[in-house]
Symmetry: C2
Subunit: 332 residues, 2 copies
């Protein structure tokens, strides 16, 4: 294993120190392992809190800031954050209007955010949860009942975050978050396995000419193994899975993310992007907004995930609203 770390045990603590040093607009509570926007709590604003295992950066810490998350709770690599940690985040950001937990659908995450919501209620904080479960590859998986939550998390955090910024109440923000999740579908393909610092070797074995079709963001098995194929054929597989689950037609508008899993060069993501655009154009589906890059990673895994959200004008407008995080940043 070759990694730029000090020790496998100190990766998260060390990374949090780096985030604190390089992003003065964030407040990092190293003890509780919580990343909070420095101006929290914002009185009267619904606060968004997300979290999950580390190793998917910039998700979630990279999305803390004005227009998106108020706090993130990173667990150890590929390990859920604990309830007390999530509670500490909720307390740090609650401005009296309640807290929305954005939770990817993994059993440990779901359970710990649920416990945190109960602890928060005991302290007088109203917390609602939205589950993200956009991955159409498989029903149930290694750590999941139902569908896994992946790329749509970025869309949920951005769009619901913008609505919270505009002063919507907790019910409205939660409703929008659920709407974005319901409108989104993802599918991922891995060319290589990833290596966690603690394991020190790849999470699964993948022969030199094979790929994992429908892989999860921790390396969970997908639908099948297959031979490496040209990008055009891989995109056809992925888009077929996505569009079979949610058909799109002429005039539909979308937000599309071509997401690198951590070890894939950006130039390859653009090769994939071209093929995705061709599939959508053939159906006269419009790309209203998009991201191409590393947003929900699996450490050093080579591969790509594609996320397509059928977006209405309100969602596109909220997408375009200003955001100022280390992972996603633009002005009005």
């Amino acid at each position: 294993m070759k990694k730029l770390i000090n020790t496998p045990e100190s990766v998260l603590t060390d990374a949090l120190a780096g985030i604190a040093a390089f992003h003065p607009q964030l407040r990092v509570d190293t003890g509780n392992r919580v990343i909070v926007r420095a101006d929290a709590p914002r009185t009267g604003k619904v606060a968004l809190v997300s979290g999950g295992g580390s190793g998917h950066e910039p998700l979630h810490g990279g999305f803390v800031g004005p227009g998106m998350l108020d706090a993130a709770c990173p667990g150890e690599v590929f390990t859920s954050p604990v309830p007390d940690q999530i509670l500490a985040a909720a307390k740090a950001v609650d401005g009296g209007a309640g807290v929305l937990f954005v939770v990817k659908n993994y059993t440990g995450d779901v359970m710990n955010f649920q416990l945190a919501a109960e602890l928060a209620a005991d302290e007088g904080i109203t917390a609602r949860t939205v589950l993200v479960d956009d991955d159409v590859a498989v029903q149930d998986s290694t750590w999941t009942a139902g569908r896994r939550g992946t790329g749509a998390t970025v869309f949920v955090e951005k769009i619901a975050g913008a609505l919270a910024d505009r002063g919507a109440d907790l019910d409205k923000v939660a409703e929008m978050a659920e709407k974005v999740n319901s409108a989104s579908r993802s599918f991922a393909i891995a060319l290589t396995a990833c290596t966690t610092p603690s394991a020190g070797r790849p999470g699964f074995d993948l022969p030199e000419d094979e790929i994992e079709i429908g892989v999860g963001i921790h390396g969970e098995p997908g639908r099948s193994r297959g031979k490496l194929k040209p990008a055009k054929e891989l995109v056809a597989l992925a888009m077929d899975a996505i569009l079979t689950d949610q058909p799109l037609g002429a005039g539909d508008k979308t937000i599309v993310m071509i997401n690198g899993l951590g070890g894939t060069p950006l130039i390859e993501l653009y090769v994939v992007a071209a093929e995705v655009a061709a599939v959508l154009a053939a159906q006269e589906v419009r790309i209203g907004a998009s991201l191409v890059g590393n947003y929900v990673t699996s450490l050093d895994m080579a591969g790509v995930s594609i996320t397509v959200c059928r977006a209405d004008d309100e969602m596109l407008d909220l997408w375009a609203a200003p955001v100022a995080t280390s992972g996603l940043r633009w002005g009005s």
Copy 2:
């Protein structure tokens, strides 16, 4: 070799199609292989043009847009763009105020941009060149006389781009570009070699427990091979090289980039960031602005480069000016 491509020969063309489809704010001339901001030429504005071999994305195409480059000329992977291509870019963006070529110091790039400048002059376009040569690892290298140009290119393109946006003339923009380059130093460490699509195998052999200290962005040899060490020790090596070449002291302000070479997880870059911050803090050097992520990559190489620019208030002010590119984007 596992890559998300159609064929090794079509990588650049396919990627350009993806850029065109996903970034409507850009105009992609696929024939000439030129990426231009869609509103070019801007009358009276000095135009910035950069380019070089592909494989370093988002450099340079990802930095085309308001506040940064007016055009980029991507060559084939790790291959210089040709003079006619650069000329086409200059013609597409010249608004009568002249063109600044931002050129990384590699012999092929230098020669071809020089030829393009002569061709441009024949067509009545004034082109000036700034050479970027910030890599302190080695003097002369596989494809370079003098120092290699690496991470400082991002600083030059952002800061000179902002000055051009404010209406400065060609001499002033060129002077600022040179000032930024002179104030910047970089050093890179590779954990693995990268694989070009055409070669199909790693560019050099690196044993499982060894690293290349001072590596170039095409895998050129650095100062030495060494055993993999904890991040703290690797950062000490890199920062010693940087600070020996340009000492910094109490109260100095800097722009710092912790740059992933393509295959390194972001969480590891933050581990490195923490160590860099500690070295600078010990010398009472301030981090006035920073980037942590993949900005100047070497395809799928695992590793990191560190770039430190001693920045005055004008440079920091220009750094903070709005920019709207796919690779770097923020509002005022």
